[in-house]
Symmetry: C2
Subunit: 346 residues, 2 copies
């Protein structure tokens, strides 16, 4: 049996039975850990992302401490925006800023095509270092932002509350929106394939902000593009996780975009969500990240509730509905891993 | 026939057939209108809320311009926080700030009981002025924040992204949470009854932030309280609208909290939502507010889609999924009113 076939995380991605439910966390490396904060004092966030040795170090930080079943490469979904030409800055506290946002067709036309090896090769290098370190222990997940979420940053110039400019481009200039999404998709397929070539054994596509959309607009303006990416990644041979948050009512249309695994948040019971998606597909989720602050007995009750709803069906990967929050107690995160690994379905 | 029985908005609240679909907008008075901005230059937001003549003036501003079927009193959901003792400030650009947030049981215990007539009588006075002005033309809606949304402001000290402190109080100190919610509910029932006494002909309860909750926690920590308020308002004799946003997957449990009308946002198709809620109940919604920026033909197509999904069933009140956004073109808002009034179900 090859290494690939033995990991419980990869088995669950393929819908195969596992000894216990596999678990990993979005943002399992990050500010809630002291080792991360110490490193962050010496380097900027972008330096850490772009220096393969540092990115690899951060990726490895939580693995032994937590005992999770998969690593995810440390990077940021917005890294491709720099080579595309819109710029990218991280200001302390305020989150990401895109200094030259896409306003009109000229801005879309002048976006540069990205050569993943050349422009984002540092992510591939970090992947290669991590694979050497964890080979035989656990698989490594690569990732990228989904086209909607990336385009929303490119258009709004940063985070947005109402996504007015993004939606307005869809409504007023659907051809411009399509062209922009096409360019981003082309970049993404190339970037994700490069990650697989470097050693990523699964891929997650983060559509963090698509929950602002209604089903009507998701179907017209998002679905064809996300579907294209996932479909073009088929021949890479690794499972793809289609992640979004705030999309509980969009799940049937989100699921139509594809993905071996569909990941959703806590706004819906796991069993209800799985029914929408179809039991023939694997699912990932769905604990509320704030529960990691709760007293252990409460946390335990809620972890059990998620596991019970999974009902021992093969193809459940335990995770939060979104990333680990700052100030989360590390021992609670570790406790969840143990609870999940110790749980046995009746 | 009494005045009450003739208004198409009130008929729809009761699930009775109407000549055309009634329509009004959340935040139909506000910054997108020049008359409002002009008045705002001379007064602070809180002055406008607390001076009955000014609040009445703002309430009346959009009515003739837009041709809507209901007025809603100009006020803010956070006004009761001042007499309760947590303080309330509006800083330019940053939104509301609660300077003395509720941190522990002592803070909960020292919250002052509110005498609605005494402490919030200016809202009643504004209602009386507006009723005199619009009597015979259209009904007036009173409103308040829902207990969850108010408590989240009181605990977080302002707006929040993850509502960690609020959820932590539920998880760590459920008795404290219950006591706080009870106090807020007692205040709300008294405050809303005072509005009805002053002349409000319908009531809307705004649970703007409850979409951060999963169904498990909504059921345990929110449902009993919201249900209590709505049930205690039964004998006031006016219809109650149970409004929330971002709660599309919670709709069946939200609907269990009660309300003659359930109002929801654009993240779900109107027909799907109505099915969950039950066709025996009236519904309100659910156009995406950003669509008001879209070119008229697109806007028209989308207004029609909402109306088609309502399928001519009695008990649909047309509205947005949330309030009108700043910079929204007034003529587009007006155009939607006309589209809705001109539409006839086939």
């Amino acid at each position: 049996m090859t290494e690939q076939n033995e990991y419980r995380f990869l088995k669950a991605c393929r819908g195969e039975p596992t000894d216990v439910t596999p678990i990993w966390f979005m943002r399992q490396a990050g500010r809630y850990m002291k080792v991360y904060r110490d490193l962050k004092e010496k380097h900027t966030f972008l330096e850490m992302c772009k220096t393969p040795e540092l990115a690899a170090e951060v990726t490895l930080q939580p693995l032994d401490v937590l005992g999770v079943d998969a690593a995810i490469i440390f990077a940021d979904i917005l890294l491709p925006l720099e080579p595309m030409g819109t710029g990218l800055e991280f200001t302390a506290g305020d989150g990401p800023v895109v200094p030259r946002p896409v306003k009109d067709i000229k801005d879309v036309e002048k976006l540069r095509p990205v050569d993943a090896e050349e422009d984002l090769g540092f992510v591939g290098d970090a992947i290669r270092i991590v694979r050497q370190e964890i080979s035989g222990k656990m698989p490594l997940i690569g990732f990228a932002g989904a086209p909607f979420t990336l385009c929303s940053y490119m258009i709004e110039g940063g985070k947005s509350r109402d996504f007015t400019a993004t939606k307005l481009m869809m409504f007023e200039a659907p051809e411009m929106w399509s062209l922009l999404m096409d360019k981003v998709c082309t970049m993404l397929v190339d970037y994700l394939k490069m990650q697989v070539k470097a050693g990523a054994q699964a891929l997650q596509i983060f559509d963090s902000w698509v929950g602002c959309m209604g089903p009507y607009d998701y179907e017209r303006f998002v679905l064809p593009h996300t579907r294209r990416i996932i479909s073009e990644l088929k021949d890479s041979g690794v499972p793809v996780i289609n992640f979004s948050t705030g999309t509980s009512t969009l799940l049937d249309v989100v699921a139509r975009a594809g993905g071996d695994v569909v990941s959703f948040d806590w706004r819906i019971h796991l069993d209800d969500a799985w029914k929408y998606i179809g039991f023939d597909r694997a699912v990932q989720g769905n604990l509320d990240p704030t529960l990691l602050f709760a007293p252990i007995p409460i946390l335990k009750e809620r972890v059990k509730d998620v596991l019970k709803r999974a009902a021992g069906r093969p193809g459940h990967i335990f995770n939060l509905g979104h990333g680990i929050l700052q100030h989360t107690p590390v021992d609670h995160v570790k406790a969840v891993v143990d609870m999940v690994h110790e749980y046995h379905h009746e």
